[in-house]
Amino acid sequence: MAHLFQGDRIRLLCSCGLLKPITAIYFCRHCLKLRCGNCVSHEVDTLFCPNCLENMPSTEARLKKNRCANCFDCPSCGHTLSTRATSIQTPSPEDPSKTVARKVYYLACTSCRWTTRDVGLKDQTVATGGWVEQDNEHYKHLQSLLEHYRSVAQQEKLEREKKRFSHRKSSYLSLSDKYSLPSILGRKSLTPLSPFAHKGDVSQTSEMTPLEATAEVEGLPEDIFTEEVVLSSVTTMEQRLSSPEWQPEKTADLYPLHKHILVKRSLRCRHCEHNLSKPEYNPSSIKFKIQLGAFYHVPEVRMVRQVELKTGVETGVQLSLCNPTPHDMTVALLPFVPEASEVSLQKAGEESVEGSSLNTSSLVRVVEIPPERTDLKLTADVALPQGQLILAARDDTAEYDDQDSSPNYKDDPQVVAWRRANKVGVNLLVTPKPDATYVRVGFVLRYDYTNTVATATESRTVTLNIPVMVDVGPVTQS
């Protein structure tokens, strides 16, 4: 699949050890490290209904069980239901002999043609809402159970608290409690959650009637051996599970489902607690308040063209480097050693823990995620261009200039193949290793990053190393 940023071909090694395309990586400006979806903490930002694009406060969402009050989904196919209006003849309230036309509304699915009339739901006289909610048939029983177990747990807690203050070592604890403590309270809280609790103690907890077992169970319906099965009247597993509490078995029992709401997520760096991505509040906006994608901070590497590779033959592969920042950048390509990078990654991890105290309060304790292990086996030797080169700053107007107005850089033609605005082409010489079928090369991209954080007190430019893996292509057998 062709991809604008060649995400399947060129991947960066994130600080957590996973290889990700540049589009899936964030750059924390405070830790100066790459972060990806795996090593940031995700947070629920705003809740909204995807159909009416209405924001919903989290308290309201909790009450409505994360569902929109006005929008419905088809219980049959999952498509959004639309409201249909129709008029019916009803006896006039003043004169029963006459009839008047009244507008009524029902819900219909434009995809599978399911309507609320199919399942015998009465039409509504108002356009939105008015649909009766289904109730859990076991509501009363479950409520009494909940109260009962709450009081049992409460008593257990009291019991524990009391134990903490009484003599710990005494093995006759229960006896001494029973006879030495005259208070009624002491007697009361003796009810433990213990399996061998006295039956009498149950009376102190709230009322609850346990369900009775029966000797007979509902068997198969009589007609199952003779009656034809109409497949369209039996619900599928998806239809059943879309309303977990009722799980209708017949399509005649389907009920319109309130639309499930969605969230906008914001991402936060685990180490410095700064936001890496924060969407705008408005559900219909797709923009971000904060978006620290690596794409805006890390030089972008692309392969210029596909080349034919042969085992043992040195082939030139051209890469383009692009500077997305508004500052000039010094770039160098260094050889990549997988083992060494692992060590350096670990070291970097340790440093960042120490360093994080500089950025944030020392109260923040970082919970480290387990280290990731990625297969970083390289299948070709690569000769990298020696020396440094300068990437010009990004200039949005450069595209419209007719002539190349960029200042002359004294480029070594051995290193720089071409230069255009903020882009530079470099040549690598790739020699596929024997018995390799697919060539993957790696290098470390060293570049000077100009720190844009206002509070940065140290030197404004920092040298960063980012390991890059390039899948050059398959090896053709000669």
Binding site: V44, R62, Q154, E156, P195, L211, P244
Partner: protein, 403 residues
């Protein structure tokens, strides 16, 4: 502002951080909030593979790392697509089978504590909490899952652990025998109207079709019919009962599959056929009773509870009860296990989320705060206490608890 909020504010804060209850099953996962009467979502336990991008079962993994990736992706989906709450600093109740593999349990704890930084995790045994939905403390709980059937007797709130029973008899076994029967007997009509044997069209039937056919057309036959069919197998002179009507099932858009009535009836029979150790679901129940102390047996037999998704198949509970009664009256058991009556409970929930509901009831009580395993404890040691880990489950440990 906090000054004026007073007690109401405190109540709100508690309410805000409602405990999340997870019941991750082999086939389906139940997730929701404590104190609610039904799960918010029952979803397939499937994740997108990070390499291939295909949907694969959650518990299909080569190593622990892969399992961890699966769980990270899956729990991310649960929190941000279904539950829509921040996992961080929120308590979790995990309903788990006591026979759940240690690696799954440890990896789940690692994912919840390290990746999602939850405040605490409480692992509760699924069989035990299933009884909480009924308000009883004694019962013989049979969980018919996708992969296997597991059984735990529970007496006065204590799991009689040495009497546990398990057999690989679950939904997947029904699907497997359904697939064999279909390939053997079913006929498919192609677009041009010609009829072919199904086995000549496809080698194996995709799992989603098997599940759909199982759920929508199959049922568990009665004991009388089943024995009649069994006898017919050995003695052709005995007339089999008339088969139920066949079903026309659209397959992959261009075939019409004719599912014979016998297949509909026989698919679930594999659960009741004796395996090589002469074990069936019925002997599972009786063997568990035999292992229990003699004084508890009558009470346990009168408190059977059958839970799990496979139990909601039509006629399943009726058949199990009939099988158990028949087996108890057989020569093998009638002398050693004289039990007059077997009785079955009806949980106040659909069979597939009974344990979840138990976890949700428990999760709404203060027991969660007292009994959960806290994040700080986990981060200090990186291990989860477990019954099968001797560094936690020792005599001194127990004495301390009872002291």
């Amino acid at each position: 502002m906090p000054l004026f909020e007073g007690l109401g504010g405190i109540g709100l804060i508690n309410e805000k951080n409602t405990t999340v209850v997870l019941d991750i099953g082999t086939a389906y996962t139940k997730a929701g909030f404590a104190g609610e009467y039904g799960p918010r979502i029952i979803t397939r336990s499937e994740v997108k593979c990070r390499e291939t991008g295909k949907n694969i079962p959650l518990f299909q993994y080569k190593n622990e790392n892969e399992l961890r990736h699966h769980l990270v992706d899956f729990i991310h989906k649960l929190y941000f697509r279904c539950l829509l709450v921040n996992p961080k600093d929120r308590r979790v109740v995990v309903v788990e089978n006591l026979l759940c593999p240690t690696v799954v349990r440890n990896t789940l704890a690692k994912v919840l504590f390290r990746h999602y930084e939850v405040l605490s995790v409480l692992f509760v045994p699924s069989h035990l909490v299933a009884l909480m939905t009924l308000g009883i403390t004694t019962g013989l709980v049979l969980d018919l899952g996708h992969k296997e059937a597991t059984l735990m007797p529970i007496y006065e709130g204590v799991v009689v652990f040495h009497a546990w029973q398990a057999l690989p008899f679950g939904g997947s076994l029904i699907e497997k025998s359904l697939s064999e029967l279909l390939l053997d007997r079913a006929v498919a009509t192609t677009e041009d109207g010609t009829e072919h044997r199904l086995s000549s069209i496809m080698q194996d039937i995709p799992n989603r079709y098997l599940e759909d056919i199982k759920v929508r057309t199959c049922f568990v036959s009665t004991l009388e019919r089943s024995s009649c069919l069994q006898n017919n197998k050995y003695d052709r002179s005995i007339e089999p009962p008339p088969p139920p009507p066949s079903v026309h099932y659209p397959l992959e858009g261009h075939h019409i599959l004719t599912i014979p009535g016998t297949v509909r009836e026989l698919a679930a029979e594999s659960l009741f056929e004796r395996d090589q150790d002469a074990l069936t679901l019925a002997t599972l129940v009786l063997n568990a009773l035999l292992k229990c102390p003699i004084d508890t047996r009558h009470k346990l037999a009168e408190n059977l509870v059958i839970i799990g998704g496979t139990a909601s198949m039509k006629g399943m509970k009726h058949r199990i009860l009939a099988e158990v009664r028949a087996a108890a009256a057989s020569e093998q058991y009638c002398q050693i296990l004289p039990i007059p009556s077997f009785m079955l409970h009806h949980p106040p929930a659909k069979d597939n989320y009974v344990s979840w509901l138990g976890g949700a009831i428990l999760g709404a009580t203060e027991a969660v705060m007292l009994r959960s395993y806290h994040r700080d404890q986990y981060l200090a040691s990186d291990v989860v206490p477990d019954w099968c880990n001797l560094s936690f489950n020792t005599c001194e440990d127990r004495d301390e608890k009872f002291a």
